[in-house]
């Protein structure tokens, strides 16, 4: 079977879809667009086949993936259960990369270094990107991984992040009639807004 078509600038985001993660989710979108990469989420793929098959197909179509394990924790009682989706998708990605090392590169992101040592000791030797649960942390790590000579400053990206987040709250979510920032339509509009801002920012840099 021929290898799947890979977009060299696409990044699969394996992140928690929860309200408390919203700010960091927006930071991933802003940071990746600003640096010249396109974010992808599992929610963007249409239904039909089994969810895991769709996720694997999306991972295979992306050149990179970021696996944020910072919220791998127990859900609240009484049915407290560990959140396994993120490690499961990381495992699938590691296996895929092992078989096709030239097609994919994965990164593990965590809030702190000691958490990863305790939660996934098999990842010892992996240089995790530590964001300390902050927007600046995410932007700064994205900048250092995908750095190029025209990379915008973290300060500039933080400003844009503030604007995109307020646009999400006051403009995108009310129209979508939902409070779910990870919903497919909301994600697409966030991408469009950020990509427009990125395009305009290149233009304004030439003008000012």
């Amino acid at each position: 079977m021929p290898p799947p078509q890979t977009d060299p600038n696409s990044v699969f985001l394996n992140i928690p879809y929860d309200e408390e993660f919203r700010s960091l989710y927006v930071a991933y979108i802003v940071g990746l667009y600003r640096l010249g990469y396109t974010p992808h989420l599992a929610t963007e793929i249409p239904g039909g086949t089994r969810r895991l098959d769709r996720i694997l197909a999306l991972i295979q179509s992306c050149r990179y993936s970021i696996h944020d394990l910072s919220r791998v924790e127990l859900t609240s009682a009484p049915l407290s259960t560990p959140r396994f989706n993120m490690p499961l998708e990381l495992g699938m990605t590691i296996a895929w990369t092992h078989l096709n090392p030239d097609l994919h590169t994965w990164f593990v992101w965590e809030a702190s270094r000691d958490r990863i040592e305790r939660s996934a000791s098999d990842l010892k030797g992996t240089d995790a990107n530590i964001h300390q649960n902050t927007v600046q942390g995410v932007l700064s790590e994205i900048r250092s991984v995908f750095w190029h000579k025209d990379a915008p400053s973290v300060q500039e990206m933080t400003k844009m992040h503030g604007f995109v987040e307020s646009g999400l709250q006051s403009y995108i979510l009310p129209r979508a009639g939902t409070n779910d920032a990870f919903a497919p339509g909301v994600f697409r509009e966030l991408c469009w807004l950020t990509s427009s801002l990125t395009e305009l920012s290149a233009y304004s840099r030439r003008r000012v």
Binding site: P8, N9, Y33, L35, G36, Y37, T38, R63, P101, T105, W106, F107, V108, T126, D127, V145, F146, W147, H148, D150, K159, F163, G167, Y171, I172, R188, E189, C191, W192, L193, S195, S196, L197, T198, E199, L200, S201, A202, S204, R207, V208
Partner: protein, 68 residues
């Protein structure tokens, strides 16, 4: 994860490519684009105002007296 990672050169998709990929209605594209433009207009004027202030800090305009 390999020890040394080679990163692909960045590439910013054109707005036509992104619009096609994201499948957003033309009307919504225009609305969000207008929001983005508004942000940049404000940012550019703020930057220019900042530059003007930095250039003219501590100077008195030609036609004004120190008492102005």
């Amino acid at each position: 994860m390999p020890k040394s990672v080679t990163i692909t050169a960045p590439r910013w998709p054109s707005s036509e490519e992104e619009a096609k990929r994201l499948r957003i209605s033309r009307r919504r594209q225009r609305e969000l684009r207008a929001l983005a433009e508004d942000y940049f207009k404000k940012m550019i004027s703020a930057k220019r105002a900042g530059k003007y202030q930095a250039t003219h800090q501590g100077t008195t305009p030609k036609n004004a007296s120190a008492a102005d």
